[in-house]
Each structure stands twice: as C-alpha cells, then as structure tokens.
Symmetry: D2
Amino acid sequence: MAEWIRPSVAFWHTFCGNGADPFGGATKFWPWRAPELSAMEQAEAAMRANFELLDKLGLDFWAFHDRDIAPAGATLRESNANLDKIAKLASKLQVQTGVRPLWGTAQLFAEPQYMHGAATSPQASVFARASAQAKKAMEVTHLLGGENFVFWGGREGYTSLLNTDMGREQEHLAQFLKMAAAHKRKIGFKGTLLLEPKPKEPMLHQYDWDVATTLSFLRAHGLEKDYKINIETNHATLAGHTMVHEMETARLAGVLGSVDANTGDSLTGWDTDQFLTEPRETARIMSVVLKNGGLAPGGFNFDAKLRRESVDVEDLVLAHVAGVDTLARGLRAAVAIQEDGRLAKLVTDRYASYDSGLGAKIEAGQIGWTELEAWALEHDEQADHLSGKLELYERIEAQFI
Amino acid sequence: MAEWIRPSVAFWHTFCGNGADPFGGATKFWPWRAPELSAMEQAEAAMRANFELLDKLGLDFWAFHDRDIAPAGATLRESNANLDKIAKLASKLQVQTGVRPLWGTAQLFAEPQYMHGAATSPQASVFARASAQAKKAMEVTHLLGGENFVFWGGREGYTSLLNTDMGREQEHLAQFLKMAAAHKRKIGFKGTLLLEPKPKEPMLHQYDWDVATTLSFLRAHGLEKDYKINIETNHATLAGHTMVHEMETARLAGVLGSVDANTGDSLTGWDTDQFLTEPRETARIMSVVLKNGGLAPGGFNFDAKLRRESVDVEDLVLAHVAGVDTLARGLRAAVAIQEDGRLAKLVTDRYASYDSGLGAKIEAGQIGWTELEAWALEHDEQADHLSGKLELYERIEAQFI
Amino acid sequence: MAEWIRPSVAFWHTFCGNGADPFGGATKFWPWRAPELSAMEQAEAAMRANFELLDKLGLDFWAFHDRDIAPAGATLRESNANLDKIAKLASKLQVQTGVRPLWGTAQLFAEPQYMHGAATSPQASVFARASAQAKKAMEVTHLLGGENFVFWGGREGYTSLLNTDMGREQEHLAQFLKMAAAHKRKIGFKGTLLLEPKPKEPMLHQYDWDVATTLSFLRAHGLEKDYKINIETNHATLAGHTMVHEMETARLAGVLGSVDANTGDSLTGWDTDQFLTEPRETARIMSVVLKNGGLAPGGFNFDAKLRRESVDVEDLVLAHVAGVDTLARGLRAAVAIQEDGRLAKLVTDRYASYDSGLGAKIEAGQIGWTELEAWALEHDEQADHLSGKLELYERIEAQFI
Amino acid sequence: MAEWIRPSVAFWHTFCGNGADPFGGATKFWPWRAPELSAMEQAEAAMRANFELLDKLGLDFWAFHDRDIAPAGATLRESNANLDKIAKLASKLQVQTGVRPLWGTAQLFAEPQYMHGAATSPQASVFARASAQAKKAMEVTHLLGGENFVFWGGREGYTSLLNTDMGREQEHLAQFLKMAAAHKRKIGFKGTLLLEPKPKEPMLHQYDWDVATTLSFLRAHGLEKDYKINIETNHATLAGHTMVHEMETARLAGVLGSVDANTGDSLTGWDTDQFLTEPRETARIMSVVLKNGGLAPGGFNFDAKLRRESVDVEDLVLAHVAGVDTLARGLRAAVAIQEDGRLAKLVTDRYASYDSGLGAKIEAGQIGWTELEAWALEHDEQADHLSGKLELYERIEAQFI
C-alpha cells in the first residue's frame, strides 16, 4: 500500500503554519517556534520535529520549500548559507531514518521583491534573483535525494490586465522553465520537474490556471517532454473542475506526476487546504492512480493544514493519521471496484461501436465526411437512444464506498 | 466604424427564441411562428423577418445554425431538402440586400440522438450522422458566402467521468475536426473555421472549456493552423475568466477569430446571453480588438436574447439598437484611450528592464541560471519595490468611459 | 426506519420529465406519454404508473403539482375539471394501496401568464388567477389526505431591480400567504403549510432566497406561526450553504417541515436535482433529523430526476432504489454516531463554561457590559486557547460513514 | 454633494495595511510604520498622517477600529491606556480640523483569544473580554463625537457545524447586542448602532450572512428598533447579491444605515476591498441613496485598500481621489435619471393595476381566495402578456452613465 500511496508530510503547513490569516494573527505557538529561539534555532528545532513526526507516523517522505526550512537572510549569500546549514542537518537525519524528500521547491512568492511575480516580474533583476534562488533550491533537493522538483507559480499571473503585458510575461516564464530544465541536466538531477496549476489566489489570475492551460503552455513552448504536473485537489475545485477531471486530463497526456492531497470547501472561494477525509472523493482519486499504474516517483503530499482553531500539537498527528487512513480506505475501494469489474465493463461496452467497422475506420482516420454522409444517407434514421445509465453506475460505485 | 465592429444578428435567439426555460413554456408568440403556419412556412416567414430586421438596423451580417433556419425532417434527406429550400430563399434575399452570413454552423446538440454528444457520442452511427449534417451546413454556408464556419460543441463533454472514456471521446473529436478541415479544402471554402469554447452547460463539463483548453487541444492534435476561436462573453465568465482575458489569450496565440457579443450575470451560474450594455467592459473588449487590428473576417455576433419577459416585437429592435450603440461607444472609448497614450506608455515603461542588458539577454535565451546566479550574487540586495500603480491606471481609464 | 424517512416519489420529475433542457428537446419517450394518447389519457396513464412504481418500491407517499397530474385546459374552469377527474382516479388508487400525498402544491410558474411571478406579478389579474389555482390545489390536496401543502415561488422574484418594485411585490406575496393560511382554516385542512426557499433560477433573484431570508419574511409579516419550511439540498448549495446549515437553521427556529431530497453538482451554478448517493452528506442530514425527533408530518420527497441521458424505464426504478438505500444508510450512520456519543459529548464539553457561573449569568441576561468589564479587568489576561479539534471530530465521524 | 455622500477614510486599510496576504509578507513600508518607532510612536504618527490625508482630500469623516489606532498591550488595562492616549491625540486633531468619526468599532477578531468568535466563543471568559473591549470602544467613539458604532462579527460564525452549537452561539450573540444597546442608552451615546453583514471569510459561515439574515436575527431577538445595517459592496457580492439588492432590502425595512464603499472582483471568492471605479454600479447605488433621502447619519466609508503591489504613498491619495470622483459621478447620474423621470414612470405604470379596483383590495387585505376565485372564474382567460421591457430600461439607464 505504501508503494501506491507514497504519503509525504508538507513541511510548510505542518511546521511553519502559525494560524495567521488575513483577519488575524498567529494562534499556534509550537514549541519549535518558541520566541526565545533565534531564527536558525527555530529552523533546527522544526527540522528535528519533522523527522520525529515522520518517525511517529511511519512515513517515508517529506516535501519542502527552501525558505520554509531555513530563514531568509539579509542577502542571498546569507540565505544560501542558512539553507546549506539546515540541509546538512536534514541530510544527517535522513541517513538515520531512511526518509527522503518526495520533492523540494523554491518559495518565490512571499518576499516583497516577488510581489509582481518572480519569473514574470516586470523587473529583470527579480528574474535573476528568482533564478539564483531556484537554482540553489534544486541543488539542495538533488543533494537530499529528492525525487521531484516542483514549481508553483504563486505570483506568476496578474491582478489586472490594465497594467500587464501578458504575452511578454509568459515568454519570460517559458525562458525560466527552459533554464530550469537545462540546469537539471547540467547537474545530473534525475528527479521529475513538476508544474503545479492553480487558477487564482494570491493573484486574481494565475498563468498555470489548470492542467489543460498548463499543457497548452508547455506545448506552445516545446516543454512538454521536460515537465509533468503536480495536481492539488483544492486548486482543481477553485478552477471549476473535479480533482478526478484534472488527474484524468493529466494521465491521458502522460503528465500525471504527483498529487497534493487535500480538499477545499465547495462553498468558499479560496484555498482552505483541509485534510481529505471524504471516502467517495478519495476512491475516485485512487481509481485514476490505479489506471496510471501508480504515481511513482510522485506520491501523495499532504499539502494540508490544521484549521486555524486547532492549536494542540496532537492535532497535527491526528490530522495526518486521518489523512493516511482516508487514502488507504480510498485505495481499497478503488481496488475493489476494479476487481469487481462491472463499472469498467459497462464503459467498455458503451464504446463498442468504435471497436470495429465504421467506428474503427473513424478512429483510424481512414474515412472522411463524404463517406460518412453516404453512410448516413444509406442508414437514414436516428440512431438508437442508448441510455447513459449513470444512476446505475453511481449505485454500483456506492456499494464500494 | 462598421469595418471594426462588423455586427451580426443571431438568427436563433432572435427568430427562434420563444422564451421557454426549464421552468416554463413559451412566452413569445412571434408572428413568424404563428401556429397556423406549417414548419416550412414558419421558416420562410422567419427568414423574411430576419432580412427585414437587418434592413431596419442597417446591418450587414447575420449568423445561423442549420436546424434553426430550416426544420428537421423525418430523415436526413428531408432535413437537407428543407435546408436547401430555405437557403435558396436566403440567397435571394441576400442578393437583394447585400447582406451575408458572418458565419454558419451545424446544430449538433438539440436532437435526442446527440444527447451523449455528436462527435463524442459513444455511438459511431451518431458520429456519422453528425458528420453528414455538418458537411451540409458547411456547404450551405459556403454557398451563401459566409465568412466563417463555427463549431460549438454543445454536448461534446460529459455528465460524469464514471461512465465516460474521456480519452477516446477527445480522439473522436479531433478526428471530426480533421475531417472538417479536409472538407473545407476539398470544397474550396475560404472562410475561417472557428471553435467556440464554453466550460459547462448543458454538460457538466465541456471539452472546449476555455481558450487555453481549446488551444491545448488544437496543439495536441496538430490543428492549430486550421482553427481560430470564437469567444463569447458569457462563456468566458462561466469559466472564471474576464472576457478580456480570453480575447487576449487568443490574440497572443494568433487565433482571435470572432466574438459572440453578449453578457451574463456575474451572480448566476448559467448562460443568460443578455445584450451587453455596460460601457467599461465594452471599452476593454474593444481595446483588444484595436490591438488585434480588427476582427475581420470575424465580427461581433449578437449571440444575445431578450429576457423571457420581453415579449414585444419592438423589444427585439430596441435590444439590438442598444447593443450596437454600446459597441460603438466602447470602440470610441478604446480609440480615445489609445490616442491619449498614457496607459500604453505606463505599461511599456514598466517592462523597460527587459529592453536591454540583462533583461534582453533573458528574453533572447542567451543566458542561464548559472550566469544569473552570478549576477544576483554580485548585486546582492533585494530589487527596488516598484509600485504596480493599478489605481492610477484605473483612474486614467475611467476618464474615457 | 420508514417512520423516520417517510420517502415520497415526486410526480413531476418521475412522470412528467422528458429530458428537455435549454439546449435540446425530449430524450425520454415514456409509455405513459405516448403521442397517440390525448392529454387526459396521458394523465391517467401516468397516474397509474405512479401507483405502480410506489407499489414496486414499497413506498407510502407521493407528491404533486396540480398542473403535472392534470393538463391545463383552455380556461380555469376546464383546468379545474381536468384536475377533479384525475384526483378522483388518484383517490381510488390511494384507497386500493394505502398510499397518500406527502404534499401537494400549485404550479404557478410554467404558464406564460406567470412570467413576471404569480402573487408578485405586477398584474392584479394574475394574482387573482394564481389565488384561484392555489385554492383549488389546496382543496384537492385536502381531499386526497395530503399531509402538507407547499409553496415554491418559482417566479416570485425578479430579473432586475431596474423594472421592479420589490417592496410592493413582497407585500403582495405576504397578502397571498395570509389568504392561504385563512383558507386552510376555512376548509379545515390540517396539513402543514410549507415555504420552499430557493435563491435563484429561474429568476435572477428569488424572494425566498434561503431559510434565514424566508424566516425574516415570515417574521416581518406575522406569518411565523402559520408556515414551516421545506428545504431542498440543491437549493441550499445554490444559496452558498450546506444542506445541514439550512436544516439546522430551520430546526432551531422550530420550522423544519420537510426535505426535498436530492443533490446538486458543487461545480455548476444551476439546479441539477440529482438523486443523492453520497454517504457522508446523507449521514449529516440524518443527524439533524434525529435532533429534530423526525420530520413527520414532513418526510423525504425525492425531488430528483434522472440525467437527461438516462432514458430507460428501469432507470427510474434504479434511481429511486439508490435514493432510498442512501437515506437508510445515512440514518444508520447518524444513529450509530448518536449511540457512540463521543461527538455529542465533545460539543457539550466545549460550551461548558456557559453552564454555570459567569456564562450562566450571560445566558440568563443577568449581567451587562459594566459587570463584564469589571470581571475582565479582574482577570486581566487572555483566555486559554482551547483547540477547536475539528480534525478529531472529522476522524470520529469518518468511522461511521 | 458632500451632504449626500459623506465620504470617510477607513483608518485600518489606509494606515495599517501593509500588503501582507496569506502567501506573503508586507510590501508597504509606510513612514508612519518605520521599524525604529515604538508601537505607540507608530500609532501617533499614523494618526497625524490620517488627519493630514483628510485635510489634503478635504474630507470630513474617518472611521476606526480600537486596536488599529492604538496597539494592544499585554493586558486589557494597558490596551485601554494606549487607546485613551491616542484618542486624546485624535480629539485634539479633530478640534483643529473639524473632522469627526463617521463611526468607530471594536476589533474582536484578530487576537488569538477570539479565534472561535468573540460573543460566540464557546468560552464565557472570551465573551467577557469582548464585552469589556467593545464597551471601551463605544465610549471612545462617543467621546470623539462618532455618529455611529459598528459591529462586524469577524469570527461570529463557524468553520464546521460538527463542533458547533449554533443555537447557543446565536443566543450569546443576541445577549451581547442587547448589552450594547443598553450600554448605549446608559452612556447617552446618540449615534446609530450598525451591524455589518458578511457571508463568509474568515469563517466558512458567518452569522450575519446578508441583510435578510441579519434582519431575521434582529426580529427573532426583538432588536430591530436598536440596530441598523452597514452594507459593504464586496460582502454583498460574496453573498450572491448585487449591492443594490442589499441596499434596497435594508431601505425597505427602514434599516439602511451606512455603506462600506468598495468593490470586489466578481470572479474571485474572497474579499478584495478594491476602490470602486465602475460608473454604472455607482449610479445604481446612488439611486437607492436618493430614494432613502440620503444616508445621514451614515455615509460612504472607503473600506478599501490599495492592491498589494501599490506601494507608493501617492497611491493612497490617488485611490481616494478616484473613489470620491466615482461616487460624485454616480450621484450626478442618479440625479439625472431621477430628473429625467422616464424610468420611475415606467415602473409606476407597471404596477398600476394595484392602484385601484381588484388590486387595491388585494393590497388592503379586503379580499380572500374565495372572492378571487369567483373573479377569476368570471374573467376566465389568461391575463394579457405585458412585456417586462427590461432592455428598454437598460437603454434609458445607459444614456446617463
């Protein structure tokens, strides 16, 4: 089961989240963030807490942003030094425990210099700073044996088209991603590069809106061989899609890379990043994973946070346990549905007219409108109205939830 | 002004709309749909009314679905005969008036045989019927001198992934569009082929979700040279985008073909297809048209309908007059903004760091992460925080609305 | 279990729904709607089919609109005669089977005369016609032994405030509901009068937006003793609420009358009225029913329809069976959660500070800001930060789904 | 014009907003927040800046939260002392300038003790602290000559009903508001008490969802004489309403108190609090103000913030100027529409059938269903289908925008 799920703890939510939101300050006062500790001491304590949690949960993976595991310094040089120091600690703890990063990433959206975007900032100097930071983050991920490297373009988008040259910004983003792919080859990093779509928030419109938009961008810039996609449930729903739609779209294009496992609230319009505990949704997600033959080297990263009002350390443990249990239950349901075979057979039978004869010729591109018109005039009646029978499918599915 | 706007009357809403909605029947009892007339007599009366309205409004274009201008018969052969007869009448009236179709299209979503889709139906026989119907509709559009041919995939999508083979359905759709492009060449039709995105409704998910999704599809199937895009305001907002975002996305990719001019209600989740009367939105739309150097051979088709409760014939005239006036006012505002030049200069200046030096090298792809890191370490401070000044842009824009 | 659920078949969706939607015509060609039958013959056949389905499903309740069970005539007199005839048939079949209406209602939104509303039409003559129709419908419901009478204000709302006198329209609606309550007393009908909130669709804004809006209206007009509320899942979510929020709001105000059991799609903005098959949602719904001590004389009416593409008669049976099974499973889960007792105890303990001392005085209104300030200055530190522990609650709940 | 608009600067957004959002830190480094200043020095500098801005803009009103103008101390006593000191400074500056508060309020949502709500916290000690804080804030508002006192229940709501006793929480909120009304009378404060609805954010569901919900709550607890409503544009749209709907709902109930002037983005699901610059929306808002005979003692408070990327001090001035200009333009348009009179006459004529005869009897409650049925049977035909003519209304309105 661990092979199929590959669950990972997200360092930022779990060890950096303090409960602040746009309407109020911190509510969580974790021991590893005690105010008497210096920033670097906090970083070390948090990293030790991370490995303690991984150990208690029995999980093999974690995921991180560069600036979450080590504090920014006054200069890039100093930030790099901080990062090196914490990476060394993480490396030591990894050796002791056998744990490794599912993925690393560069946080290119929190500092004020990135307010207009990083690779899409109108300031070339910001592009340069972002490149330097991402380069370092990729190298640290490589050093720690990370299996993937993720780009979430937090502020790669716009607030308004009035002051934005969207064409030029997207060209810059493409250049940035080309440089990343080139650097990956240069340093011999074997992990997968992943783009993470999100439609909006913090920007009013983000360039990697959803899987299809991201695919369109990759195809327009010849990047489709270099990148796969990391899909997040709450981002999918903010874009107006089901998670399963996004996963299936990526799977069909051969770019289903990894999953940020969480859920949102269907009635709110922002990212709540809750732990997923709903059985049916999880079973559907796992059905796509089965069809994909698993996610490795990707996995399920718990990009999920406690509610602002959940302030006990034990809540962190409880939430992750609930998350892992839910994924396991979903996987079992998906396997049972697959073994039962009824749903798959219904779908296969539904499309049977394309398996031979006229349908097969259509699929093979061996026929055109002229021949099809001739066929239609020869069989000049409406087609049979075959029922879609969706209620039957839902009833069968429900037996396994 | 007529050159830039190229306004068109949409036959279906204007002459076929009867006010029925999911909760009630017809409210509009137009003279050209008098119950004592046969279906073909109604079709003829409606076509004459169409040309009378075009004449009264002084417009040069109209747009149509095959099954709206002529009723379906019991068989395809009969439907084709009906269509030929009405097309002949339209052709005669066109000669008299100098009016011609902005575009034609095939209605492949209303009949029950298309309930699961047309090109994406699981039944190959439906694909064949749809091909025959679209072939005929394209030929009639060609005959009438139409400047474009549109595909709106009304039911090309799904209700649920549980009973859907999305990969196979999308392959079928690609085959269909390849056949269309081949047939266009075969018959010498010079008009533009246009895809019209819509995210949902009637299906829960439609394959041509938005411009980016449609571009991704075209690129995946090598169709990007054969198709442009017809963008509808209300479809844009249902997808979570502004109309201007959709138009700009298409313009940047060179596929901005035509516009379905209407508006929706931002607080409802379905297509209301209202006539656009809001000045600011229209000015923004026209700014993209200016940047695109116009829309021809596309134009602005009033894909808009009267409210269900507007039941007087004069309401049809009033609504179209308001629509044309609004577009004209928007065009004037966009031209004034362009001539003023302040907004454009603010944007150009904002990206000036990419015009030379480091930025120019980034744009030219002459530099990589290693060099950029070196630069960043040499200039080891945060970039200046340049204000986005969006409130200033908005204030300047407001002076022209 | 039947006592708690009281499931009911909705005549309109099940026997009148033909699959038409705004983008296409009928897809379902039921035997009781055979075109060779007259309107009254269809009505009789449909009524017999209704009782056959109720018998096959073993259910005790059905629900109806006046115009669904009997066709409108050319005049009100004729419509009434049609209704009397069909009601007589229904009455006979009820006696044979022991089945009775959960509720009846008047359909005051489908005919063109109701396009601007019924009780809120700007035309007083429409108000009069609506009153006559509703009076008759209430009398027929009384005759058939219906346990409730429902008002869903399909077009009681507006398309735009530009042409609407909202104040006057709402006064008219209040007058209408006062007349209904008076007529109920006059004829000795003992059933409950129910209002059914819906936020929008078909109108852009409907007056009975949600439970709270409906309560506000009832309170403003002194009607809160005369009406309870019929809550529909898909209407709740269109209003931006969970179904459980709406039910709990009604329960706390003592007006939880009945439930229209269905579900919508959280990603679409219109009413899809699907059969509910999701286990967690149903368990939550049933938890409110338990707290309310049941719903009688209300119940769960399957205000749900087959997908447009489900066209086999057996689909109607399958869907209802799935619906009943889901409600039963939800009830079992809710009972198990109640018997387990952990969730209820967590909540009770959470509010314990209000059970005595300072909190009890606050609840009793025995204390004011001056005394509370004195208390706060005496205890001059921040309160303990007690964790909300929502992840724990979710984990416990999941064990019972 | 100043009499009708009564514009007010919101202290919190303008002098406390630093650009932080859930994905990044401060971007605005205002001189009055220089890090070398102590918290109290910053508060004093910000207050002086407030009066400088009011002077430059020529505005007469400002609005504040207690904790925004003066920093929280370690204890309530210390917070109160800070507040007294800053209030004294504000009072002095007010005397010099003739400016006064449109309103004051207590910030009961930012500190961690309020994470579960203030008056609706499950901890009675939090209720006590909130009472003490609100009491002090009301007294300071009274001292400064504030014309209103506002309650925005930032966290009065819930994250999930699983761990919430909604009935008990709402009872506590009612007690709190009763105490506030009693304290107002006790201290002789003559200003209006205002509730400010918001549907969600930061909580998933807030108790003062919209105007109707707030009215329902006030009516249920006998508070409708003591409170009016402060309506915010962006809150209206988050609740699924137009601003005009909310204002009209409040106006009809006699509780339209004041307006938080801003706008949101119709495509995002969170509060963006942008300055309103759209002419048509503003004209519609002002039409309700005209019907209400003005807003005094309420007004238009600019509860609006610069975009995160707008970081120049001059942006603050530009944005407020744009805001005032927009309101002035809206007022002019509304007056012109009123003086033109066509729209008002169309509406009056539309409802004329209720001015005499049958309609007048319905409005007067002098007739019931029995008489109306008799009338309908006597006039046994459908009513005339009068067109709603909304397109005509829109065309007339557009002439004044």
